[in-house]
Every structure is written in structure tokens, then in C-alpha cells.
């Protein structure tokens, strides 16, 4: 297809919104500047800072003052947020969410590489607002697992008045469901694993060939210009490893086919996004390949050979995935309860600091956006959540959620949502 003007404009607009940061508040005023005084600043990557101050400007963390003087006052133009006695924690990163806009699955075809959730997003929907009250500031909004390849998901912030404010990146990731839901009935291809694996491999291979053809053309290695195919366009970034494929896969044998086909054969950047049942027994192989695992929504397995519970995230960690995180598969578990999933992972054996890192920095790195989000460090997005105490403790709650430097949820001004 020809690159018409409208297409070019669209791409330019996307690029702009991708690169730009929201520079204005809802009412058009300049972005506010904040001085958040702790309390305990949990940076995640560089330890905790007691009594420090976070300075926020232009939607980003400007700097952290570790030990402010006793007579310290917020600088000119910076509004003080007093969070003494509280915990200041980075916003959480959810890598398996279905609540940003509905219409999860379109199941006519079993592979749909042209689908994208970008256009479905409903900013300011109630479910996202409740997610904010659970300290979740970033979500990967992906299609469901009703088909083997549901489409491309969108990485968004959970707050923002419109898509441009919310968008972090599209495509966020490709969504593949290896099995355990996309099985077709009614005599269609893809009724069992052998068929589903074929559908996945065939589609990916098609995309790989398309990418190679376009790469060759753009590097002037061939005179034959390939045909533009909107259905396959987004595979190019996938095979260039600009974004990963997140895979709904669980159980030992299914995950084995995931790592073999998607990582070993296709060379893709893979994130395992369930990893439940006895999948953890494959941990050494997964760790060897540097594949991130976000375990959930199931957090345990009843082992009927031993007659007891197994904590899944804990077993993944023991097996070698030291960066293991959790997800909610919202709304299977309500989005705001992402931290509760982490708390359950801790109860069932995972170390607390690992659990917290798993839904912040490691989740961010899994999507390649660790330079922007996932910890409280200078230069990163001001996605900051103030808690009454340790977020893992169900007895504590969020008092304030800030996304991109703007307050999205403030219990001093509105009722508690969670």
C-alpha cells in the first residue's frame, strides 16, 4: 500500500505522542511541581530513604534529597505534599490487564496479528480508576486468550485525560496464547496443541519473512520492493526486538513449547505471563534464556502428590527466575489488587523485596521501559504512590496516586476507592 499523506501524518502524530510528555494540566496550566516529603521513600533500585524528599517537575522525578536539613522548606514553585509517617513507593506495573477498554477477543480467526488494543482504550474508566487506588500506574492492556494470537497490546498509564496522556508505547507487546483457552471447537484447525503450535509458528514465520524482506529492501540489498501488508506491519518491530511477545502459557509442557518456538526458533524477546500450574519446574531452562516470568493470577498449586500447597512465584524464584513478578489478569483479580497478589506470593514463600521489585523495576524491564518507570530515581516518570505503610500489608492503603506528575487519586479530597 502506498504511503499516502494521511498515513504519514498519522505516523508522525503517533511518533510525536510517543516521544512527547504531557506538558499541561487538565485546565491548561503549566505542569505542577511537587515536593513530596517522607516518610519512607522506597526507591526499589537504590534502597530506602527515610525522611527524604522527592522533587517532581515536568512530570518527572527531578531528584531525591536524601537528608534534608532540619529547616528545609520546599523550593519556590514547588507544592509540598507532606507524607511524613507514610511510605512513598513507585507506581506498580501490571503486565496482564484486560480492563482498559473491553472487547477482549475477536475469535473468527485463530491468529490476528493485525489487531490492536490501541483503539479500544477507554481513558478514565472506573476500573482504571480503581486500579489507581491500588497503586497501579502502568498497565499493559492486551487482548484476551481466546485466540492463539490476539493482537498487539498497548502499554499505558492508568491515569490521563486522553490517550495521548496515557500512552507509553504502542505496540506495547504482541499477545500470544500458547494453549489453555484458545482451543477451537467445532472441527476447526487449532483444536489441539499440535494445531495451535502450527498456527503460531506459521503466523510468526510469515511475519519473519515479511520483516526480512523489508529489512533487505531498506538496506538496499534487493531491488524487489516488498508489498505493504497492514496485517503484518507490526511484526517488523517484533522481530527487531523493539517490543516483546507476552505469552499466556502455563504448565511444564506448554511453556516448553513457548520457549522452544518463540525464543529458540523465532528469536523473539519473550515474557511469560502466567507460568502457573507446574510450569515452575521448567525454571532453570527459562532462566537460562533470560526470559522474565510474571506469575498469576493463580499464586499457588495444590500438589496432590505431596498433599500440600506450592507457592508458584516462590518456586520460580527458587528455580532461577530471580526477577519473578506477579499479575492479576484483571479483572480475574481486580486490577487494584495487584499488590495483594504480590502479598500472597510473599505469604507463599517469595521474599518481600523480590515481590516488590517484580511489580516495579523488573516488570518495567520486561517491557523495555525501565528507563522511564519502575523505580523512584531522578529522570524517571513521576509515577509515585503514597501509602499509609508497607504496601504489601493488606491493612495499609493508598492515600495519593500521582501519574506523570499529576495527581490522579487523593483521599484527602475524594472518598477512598480501595
Amino acid at each position: 500500500m502506498q504511503m499516502t499523506r494521511s498515513w504519514k501524518a498519522a505516523i508522525l502524530l503517533l511518533a510525536v505522542s510517543f516521544l512527547a510528555r504531557p506538558l499541561y494540566c487538565e485546565d491548561g496550566a503549566a505542569a505542577q511541581r511537587w515536593a513530596i516529603r517522607g516518610g519512607k521513600i522506597v526507591t526499589v533500585t537504590k534502597g530506602a530513604v527515610e525522611g527524604g524528599v522527592l522533587l517532581v517537575s515536568d512530570g518527572r522525578i527531578e531528584k531525591i534529597i536524601a537528608a534534608p536539613a532540619s529547616d528545609w522548606k520546599p523550593p519556590e514553585g514547588y507544592q509540598l505534599i507532606d507524607a511524613s509517617g507514610r511510605w512513598i513507593v513507585p507506581g506498580f506495573v501490571e503486565l496482564h490487564s484486560h480492563i482498559a477498554g473491553g472487547d477482549l477477543n475477536d475469535m473468527v480467526y485463530s491468529v490476528n496479528p493485525g489487531f490492536r488494543t490501541l483503539d479500544n482504550i477507554m481513558p478514565r474508566n472506573a476500573l482504571l480508576k480503581r486500579a489507581q487506588a491500588g497503586g497501579v500506574t502502568t498497565a499493559l492492556f492486551i487482548p484476551g486468550s481466546g485466540t492463539n494470537m490476539g493482537g498487539f497490546g498497548t502499554l499505558i498509564k492508568t491515569a490521563g485525560k486522553d490517550l495521548s496522556e496515557m500512552l507509553i508505547r504502542f505496540p506495547g507487546a504482541l499477545k500470544i496464547a500458547q494453549g489453555g483457552n484458545p482451543e477451537r471447537g467445532g472441527g476447526d484447525l487449532g483444536y489441539s496443541r499440535i494445531g495451535m503450535n502450527w498456527l503460531i509458528r506459521n503466523a510468526l514465520k510469515e511475519g519473519q519473512l515479511y520483516t526480512e524482506a523489508w529489512d533487505a529492501w531498506e538496506a538496499d540489498k534487493t531491488k524487489k520492493k516488498p508489498v505493504k501488508n497492514p496485517r503484518l506491519e507490526m511484526f517488523r518491530g517484533l522481530f527487531h526486538k523493539e517490543y516483546p511477545v507476552v505469552v499466556h502459557t502455563q504448565g511444564y509442557h506448554l511453556i516448553l513449547s513457548t520457549i522452544r518456538i518463540l525464543h529458540d526458533e523465532m528469536g523473539l524477546w519473550v515474557v511469560i505471563d502466567h507460568g502457573t500450574f507446574d510450569g515452575f519446574e521448567l525454571a532453570p531452562e527459562v532462566a537460562k534464556r533470560g526470559i522474565q516470568v510474571m506469575n498469576g493470577p493463580r499464586q499457588f498449586r495444590w500438589d496432590n502428590r505431596r498433599g500440600g500447597f506450592r507457592g508458584l512465584a516462590y518456586e520460580w524464584s527458587r528455580g532461577g527466575i530471580k526477577t519473578v513478578g506477579v499479575n492479576t489478569d484483571a479483572p480475574v483479580v481486580p486490577a487494584e489488587e495487584l499488590i495483594h497478589q504480590a502479598a500472597m506470593a510473599v505469604r507463599l514463600g517469595l521474599k518481600e523485596d523480590v515481590a516488590l521489585a517484580g511489580i516495579t523495576i523488573h516488570a518495567a524491564r520486561a517491557l523495555g521501559v525501565e528507563k522511564r518507570i519502575g523505580s523512584l530515581e531522578a529522570g524517571k516518570d513521576a509515577d509515585i504512590v503514597i501509602w499509609t505503610g508497607d504496601p504489601l500489608d493488606p491493612r495499609q492503603s493508598v492515600v495519593l496516586t500521582m501519574v506523570n506528575g499529576k495527581i490522579a487519586y487523593d483521599t484527602s479530597k475524594e472518598p477512598q476507592r480501595f
Partner: protein, 434 residues
């Protein structure tokens, strides 16, 4: 083709002796067990004790004998000859009481629950391992799993049971526990008319029956359609209603006022608005501390104006003076894999109530003494007080701490769960070990 003649040689001679020895040993063991059944004094010392009926006791001791608590005090030495459980650095609190539980401890519920209990039930064992020592047991719904939610069925069997794993004796506390009444959902004008008619008829029946008893004549026949109404009016136990909205709450209050029976409200979601009325009418409430999952509705609710987030509701009822029992997120034990969403994490649901503004003390009471009071068994259980049943837990941390595990669970003074010996959490390290 050889016969092992060895097999029939020496062992054949030794066998009678060996058997005799075993028999004597088993008799001897029997005697020891007999002795054990007689007065054993046990004590737990050095713990942070949360009696629920009173303030926290540091370095506390709880002493019990023959299944009843003798003493709860600080820095008290265990009596001579007592079996002592050292609980230095640990917590002790009453066993948790789940105001409802489905499919726990019941083998069959045809006819009644008491004759169909199963003390070897797996779900019972898991609930006990999570600190639940008493439940109001309801039969499991025909379709399990998510079917455990929703209103409680009118006319349902119910029994208060203790989770005495492996022991049928001591398991049944009371049957029936409460009456269950379903309010009409369709053809409301007609059905409410019928409802009121039946209450009138039931009242008339009770008057006739009282008359017959006074005359020592035979009691009048009771038609099956009036059975539940008569049970409600007899008021030997409270009646549970599951009102869908505040209008139905008002109906329940007016019926209970008019006919003078005790009502209990199950999941009266927005009735926090009328909590003061409920408190004044002494109507206990059973409340969940979190909202539903699988909610795809992007349009709400948002709890902004005139609504209250589910997590805040239990505290709102308590503030108004209502007696609140925390409901488990789901009524049964689920082994599907979603953690913290079923009966096993009742104490976590209590912790969520603290998130919503309740105090730790009230939250613990909402899963111990309050459900015991609602079930009218608080003379026996729900707190650690002299004379009450020795149903207690030794925990690795505060009962509302999400990392705490039950280390030992005692019911009627007997040790029924020991984390070290049980397989259930053998693969899960305690917090300190991680």
C-alpha cells in the same frame, strides 16, 4: 520351583511371641491413652496473647485443662506437670470463627448435617491449617466453585461445627444454627402479600399450639408451607436474610419489629447508610471486606458520591454500633489456585477491613467473638476467657499479618494441627526462613 521353607520356619515360631508383644504393647498404649484422656493440664507461655474479650497480654500464659480455659494472665508460670508449649516471640489468639462455610466438614447433608459430618474432610483440614476452628457449616451448593457466592438459600440446613480433624466427637456444637429466609424476587406485590399472610397464619398456629399444650391435647398439624415461618417466629435462633437493597433491609426491619424475631443481614451492601437503625434494632450484619472480582464494567461503580467502597463498609457498620462478622471472600476452600480469595484467608479479609478504617482489635473480633455471638455460641467460644472452650491458635506473627501462619491449633484443648507435622504447608517456608 522352590518353596521358601524359610518362610515357614523360625518366624512361625516367633510369630506368636511377636504378636503377643504387639498386643500387649497396644494394650499398654491403650492404657496410656486412657490416662491421657484424664485431666491433662496444658499451657502456652511467653506469647503475646490476644484474648479478644480484653486487651493484649504481653509475655502471656494461657492454661487449660479438660478442654476448658483455666487462666489467661501475664508472666504466669505453667503449673507443675503441665504440658508446656513455649511460644516466646509468638502470638496466641482464639481460633477463628467463620460465620458461614460451605462444603467444609460435610460428607452428606441429607436429613441433617450432624449425622453426615466428615472429620477427615480435606477442606476441613485446610481451613484448620489456616486458623479456622469453628464454622457455621452449610451444605455445598450443587455447582461448586463460584456458585458459593450469592444469597443464602431459604430453608437451608445449617450447623455450628468445630473443625476437630479426625474426631467426630466434639465436632457438632449446635444444629440447626440459624434459619434462612429468602425474600421474594418476582411478582413482588403478590408474593409479599402471601408472605404477610403466612406470617399471620404462623402466628395463629403458634397460638393454637400453645393452647393445645396448655390443655395437654395433641398439637395441631403444621403444613409444610408454614414450617419456615413458624421457625422464624419461634425465635429459638435468629433468621438470616440476604437483602438485595436497602428497601428490602427496611422490610426485614419492619417484619422483625412487628413479629418480634431476631434477624441477621447477610451482605447488606449499601445498608451502611442505615447502620444506625440496624444497631438500634440489634441486627447483626455479615459483611465482606472486598468487592467482587471478574467485574468488566468500566462504567462503575466508582464510590464517589453517595457510595462507599466495599473495603470501607465493615468499618462503617462498626462505627454505627453494629455487630459485624467478616465473611470470607468465598464461602469454601478453593484449590483452583487463586490465593487470598477463599475461606483459607479469612484473616486476610479481616485485615482488609482494617484497610477500610477498622481497628485491628475490632477486625479480629469480627472473625472471633462477633460470629460466636451471632451464632449464640459465645458462652463457649470466640475469646480466651476462663471457662470457655480451649480453642486457640499459636501463630508465627500477629493474626492479621499477612505473613503469619498458624503453628499450632487447639480445639477443646486438644492439638489438632501442628504445622511442623502437617504436609499442607510443608513446602512453604515461614517468613523468617526465606
Amino acid at each position: 520351583m522352590t518353596i521358601r521353607t524359610r518362610d515357614y520356619g523360625m518366624p512361625a515360631l516367633l510369630l506368636p511371641l511377636v504378636l503377643a508383644a504387639f498386643f500387649c504393647a497396644s494394650l499398654g498404649a491403650e492404657e496410656t491413652r486412657e490416662k491421657e484422656k484424664k485431666s491433662i493440664v496444658q499451657a502456652v507461655v511467653g506469647a503475646t496473647v490476644l484474648p479478644v474479650s480484653g486487651p493484649m497480654v504481653r509475655r502471656g500464659t494461657v492454661i487449660w485443662k479438660d478442654g476448658k480455659i483455666l487462666e489467661v494472665a501475664a508472666e504466669l508460670a505453667a503449673p507443675e506437670g503441665a504440658r508446656v508449649h513455649d511460644a516466646d516471640g509468638l502470638y496466641v489468639c482464639p481460633g477463628f470463627v467463620s460465620i458461614v462455610a460451605m462444603g467444609v466438614g460435610i460428607e452428606t447433608s441429607s436429613g441433617n448435617i450432624g449425622n453426615g459430618l466428615n472429620p477427615w474432610d480435606r477442606e476441613l483440614t485446610i481451613a484448620l491449617a489456616n486458623g479456622i476452628t469453628t464454622v457455621q457449616a452449610l451444605p455445598a451448593p450443587f455447582f461448586g466453585g463460584f456458585g458459593q457466592d450469592g444469597p443464602l438459600y431459604g430453608g437451608s440446613n445449617s450447623a455450628v461445627i468445630k473443625l476437630t480433624q479426625g474426631d467426630l466427637g466434639g465436632m457438632l456444637v449446635k444444629e440447626p444454627a440459624m434459619n434462612y429466609f429468602s425474600l421474594p424476587t418476582r411478582q413482588l406485590e403478590l408474593n409479599y402479600f402471601l408472605l404477610r399472610e403466612r406470617f399471620k397464619q404462623a402466628k395463629a398456629y403458634l397460638a393454637k399450639r400453645a393452647e393445645a399444650r396448655a390443655k395437654k391435647a395433641t398439637a395441631p398439624k403444621l403444613s409444610s408451607s408454614l414450617k419456615l415461618y413458624v421457625a422464624v417466629l419461634e425465635n429459638t435462633r435468629p433468621t438470616v436474610f440476604s437483602p438485595a437493597n436497602n428497601h428490602e433491609v427496611k422490610i426485614v426491619l419492619s417484619l422483625s419489629r412487628e413479629y418480634g424475631f431476631d434477624a441477621v443481614l447477610n451482605e447488606p451492601k449499601d445498608a451502611w447508610m442505615m447502620a444506625a437503625d440496624l444497631a438500634a434494632a440489634n441486627v447483626p450484619v455479615l459483611v465482606k471486606s472486598r468487592g467482587p472480582d471478574f467485574d468488566f464494567n468500566t462504567t462503575g461503580p466508582l464510590f464517589e458520591k453517595g457510595q462507599m467502597a466495599p473495603v470501607r463498609r465493615p468499618a462503617a457498620f462498626v462505627r454505627a454500633g453494629c455487630q459485624v462478622s467478616i465473611l470470607p471472600y468465598r464461602r469454601g476452600i478453593s484449590l483452583a489456585g487463586l490465593a487470598g480469595r477463599d475461606l483459607a484467608t479469612l484473616h486476610i479479609d479481616a485485615a482488609f477491613a482494617v484497610r477500610g478504617g477498622m481497628s485491628n482489635e475490632d477486625a479480629l473480633k469480627a472473625i472471633t467473638l462477633n460470629p460466636a455471638r451471632t451464632l449464640r455460641v459465645d458462652d463457649r467460644l470466640g475469646s480466651l476467657e476462663k471457662g470457655k472452650d480451649a480453642d486457640l491458635l499459636i501463630l508465627s506473627g500477629h493474626p492479621l499479618d499477612y505473613r503469619s501462619f498458624v503453628l499450632k491449633a487447639f480445639i477443646n484443648g486438644k492439638l489438632y494441627y501442628d504445622r511442623e507435622k502437617s504436609r499442607i504447608y510443608r513446602e512453604i517456608p515461614l517468613t523468617g526462613d526465606k
